[in-house]
């Protein structure tokens, strides 16, 4: 039996990689992908606790299904925004998207 700590460690590592990517990559599509990565790291945690946690029950898996759905929707909306953004500004560089400052 793999201890729950391993799963948590995997989740934490994935989360940090995702976070690092969100904070450092300049390409918006990559940023979006990194966000997916962070969501999935949460999913790992949920599923892990759901099957081998101290109060194991089905809720965690149901929740991860929700997150899949939300992630899919988010990806769709996010990519749509990116396309719109690209059409308008001809760039999806994060650094250049600063018209909302101040």
């Amino acid at each position: 039996m793999v201890p729950v700590t391993f799963f948590l460690a995997l989740g934490a590592v994935l989360f940090c990689i995702g976070l690092y990517g969100v904070l450092t990559r300049r390409h918006l599509v990559v940023v979006l992908v990194c966000i997916e990565l962070m969501l999935n790291s949460v999913n790992i945690n949920l599923v892990a606790f759901s099957s081998i946690g101290p109060f194991a029950n089905i809720t965690g898996q149901v929740f991860s299904l929700f997150i899949f759905t939300v992630a899919a929707a988010e990806a769709a909306v996010g990519l749509a925004i990116l396309i719109a953004l690209y059409r308008n500004r001809e760039s999806i560089d994060v650094i250049k998207q600063d018209i909302m400052r101040w």
Binding site: L19, L23, W102
Partner: protein
């Protein structure tokens, strides 16, 4: 009949409402509405007067205002004093209404004029019918309003507009005094009904100091309304109003309301010797300085206005020295002969196409016979020639002053009486004798104007006979059931002195302005300084301007700056500093999503770390 006395002011009120709503369709027929209403009032007040002389009395009240457990009522009552006033007011008012029909017929706002006149008559009649001080005050203010409207009737003349404002404002100062006085009285005695107040005071409801304060404050109201020194400055300016208005409001009725007020509240004044002294001295000073100004003035209406002030001072002087009947008697006789003089002046002014300077008049005696004769009767009456009305009332005043006021006040009164005769005959000689100095030949006016003159002349002759040393009818009537102290009576030598003073004034005026045996600048050349002082009315207007009006406006300008710069300034500085700090901080928001994210994460970690450190989770 007495229980219908409330109808007396209601007739003019109805006339006012009719004229307000339909006046513009009635045009110059409006005058008939006013005259009819006043005729009814006059008939009613005559009936009420006769019945009251028969000894009946009547009062009626309803609750007007309840505060806590105290109530203020409203109603009307018929007393000896107020039936006398009702009769005088209704009579003069009716005659002025008749006179104005001709005098104002060229004015296309005659319906407005008549509506204001009706409003005034309503308020003045209501004032005298009031059974309590507050109701009196309410009507007191309403007569002030009508006075304001009528003085400012020709609002397009800047002088009239200014005079109306001044009249209202200056009397307002007195009114606030009266208001505070009546409130103090109410708090001290728990009532404002005259009879209840008097019995409470007799029972010792207020300390002596309190009574003095109350009496002086009430008197302040009278000072404002009756144009006593130092608040008399509005009355001469009020002559900017149409002349019938001056006759009605600023000679016969409204300005006498102050005297009436002191008369009505007489027991309160009697309870405080200080207040009586103040009343007497204010009256004396007013009588004297107004008479001196009248000596040199050259505007026919203003001379009469100063004469009115002086005579009102006389009445106050009488009241202040214990001459209750004397003061009120003079109030009645003065109402008739001063209304006569003003309407006579109006007749002259109308005939001369609105010229008022007596230096440009003269020789009207043969041209306007009725006006001249009636004016002469008025002049004789005010000068105190026996047996006209003014002689009788002036004599009792002198007697009262001598008995209750001492020699100084008596001398002031005597000198004033002399000056009165002089300036009135000066006016008479300048206007009616000598050479005529105009282009248009004046002719006698129509009946609408002469009939009131004749009627008033009759009153000016006979009104004095109601209270002579031989038959003091008025005294018995007014003092019945009232404790106003012993009343002084004239003596033969006093009557002689009074006639002598009048004759002296007449003689001097005759010598200077008719015969020319004494040069007209005989006095003025000797004391040019005094002459200038009098011409400028003791510079009181200028002093008030400099002492009150301008500093107030200056304070206003200063405070407006303070308001804008300091108070609003602080607010704006507070607002700006928020805005500035926002501008500094917003530079940190450079729109870089990833920087935001980093800061958020670092911040979140810092908060967690802080929680651990503070709560000691590491230990």
């Amino acid at each position: 009949m007495l229980q219908n006395a409330w109808l007396i002011p209601v007739f003019p009120l109805i006339a006012f409402i009719i004229l307000l709503l339909f006046g513009r369709f009635l045009k110059d027929k409006s005058s008939y509405v006013g005259i009819a209403a006043l005729a009814l009032s006059f008939i009613f007040s005559l009936l009420v007067l006769m019945e009251r002389i028969g000894g009946e009395t009547y009062g009626f009240t309803v609750n007007w205002l309840t505060t806590g457990d105290r109530t203020i009522s409203a109603g009307y009552e018929v007393t000896a004093l107020n039936v006398m006033m009702l009769f005088v007011v209704a009579a003069v008012s009716l005659l002025v209404h008749i006179f104005s029909r001709e005098y104002m017929h060229e004015d296309n706002r005659i319906h407005v004029f008549y509506s204001y006149l009706a409003l005034f008559s309503f308020s003045m009649l209501g004032l005298v019918l009031s059974p309590n001080l507050l109701q009196l005050f309410i009507f007191w203010e309403l007569v002030g309003l009508s006075s304001f409207l009528l003085v400012g009737f020709w609002y397009f003349k800047p002088e009239a507009a200014a005079a109306a404002k001044k009249a209202f404002l200056v009397t307002r100062i007195g009114d606030v005094g009266l208001l505070i006085g009546l409130i103090l009285l109410f708090n001290a005695t728990g009532s404002l009904e005259y009879s209840a107040v008097f019995s409470a005071i007799e029972a010792g409801a207020a300390t002596n100091t309190m009574l003095t304060v109350i009496a002086v404050l009430i008197f302040l109201g009278a000072v404002g309304k009756s144009a006593q020194f130092p608040l008399h400055v509005w009355l001469p300016d009020a002559m900017e109003g149409p002349t019938p208005v001056s006759a009605l409001i600023h000679a016969a009725t409204m300005v006498a309301a102050g005297v009436y007020l002191v008369g009505v509240m007489y027991p309160v004044f009697l309870a405080s010797s200080t207040a009586m002294l103040i009343v007497a001295w204010v009256g004396a000073i007013t009588a004297f300085i107004a008479a001196t100004i009248a000596l040199v003035n050259t505007d026919i209406k203003r001379i009469l206005a100063y004469s009115t002030i002086s005579q009102l001072g006389f009445m106050m002087l009488a009241l202040g020295t214990g001459g209750y009947v004397a003061g009120l008697f003079h109030l009645m006789t003065h109402a008739f002969f001063k209304a006569l003089l003003f309407l006579g002046a109006g007749s002259v002014i109308f005939a001369l196409h609105h010229r008022q300077d007596i230096r440009n008049m003269g020789g009207l005696w043969n041209r306007m016979k009725i006006t001249s004769v009636t004016f002469l009767i008025g002049t004789l009456a005010i000068a105190g020639a026996p047996p006209l009305a003014g002689f009788w009332s002036k004599e009792v005043i002198l007697a009262a002053v001598l008995e209750g006021g001492g020699i100084v006040l008596f001398l002031i009164a005597a000198v004033t009486a002399f000056m009165t005769a002089f300036y009135m005959f000066r006016l008479f000689f300048r206007v009616f004798t000598g050479e005529f100095k105009g282009e248009h030949e004046p002719v006698e006016n129509k009946k609408f104007m002469t009939v009131p003159l004749v009627a008033l002349a009759v009153f000016a002759v006979v009104a004095g006979f109601v209270n002579t040393p031989f038959a003091a009818g008025l005294e018995g009537f007014l003092t019945e059931g009232l404790n106003v102290g012993e009343q002084a009576h004239g003596t033969i030598w006093l009557a002689g002195l009074s006639v002598l003073l009048a004759a002296g004034g007449f003689g001097l005026a005759w010598a200077m302005y008719y015969k020319g045996t004494v040069a007209q600048d005989f006095f003025t050349s000797k004391a040019p300084g005094v002459h200038k002082l009098l011409l400028n009315k003791y510079y009181l207007d200028e002093i008030y301007q400099a002492a009150f009006a301008r500093p107030t406006v200056a304070a206003g300008k200063f405070l407006a700056e303070v308001d804008r710069r300091v108070i609003d300034g602080i607010v704006l500085v507070a607002a700006r500093s928020v805005e500035r700090s926002g501008q500094v901080i917003r530079k940190q928001h450079n729109g870089q999503l990833q920087t935001y994210g980093l800061v958020t994460i670092i911040g979140g970690l810092a908060v967690i770390a802080l929680a651990f450190v503070l709560r000691g989770y590491f230990g």
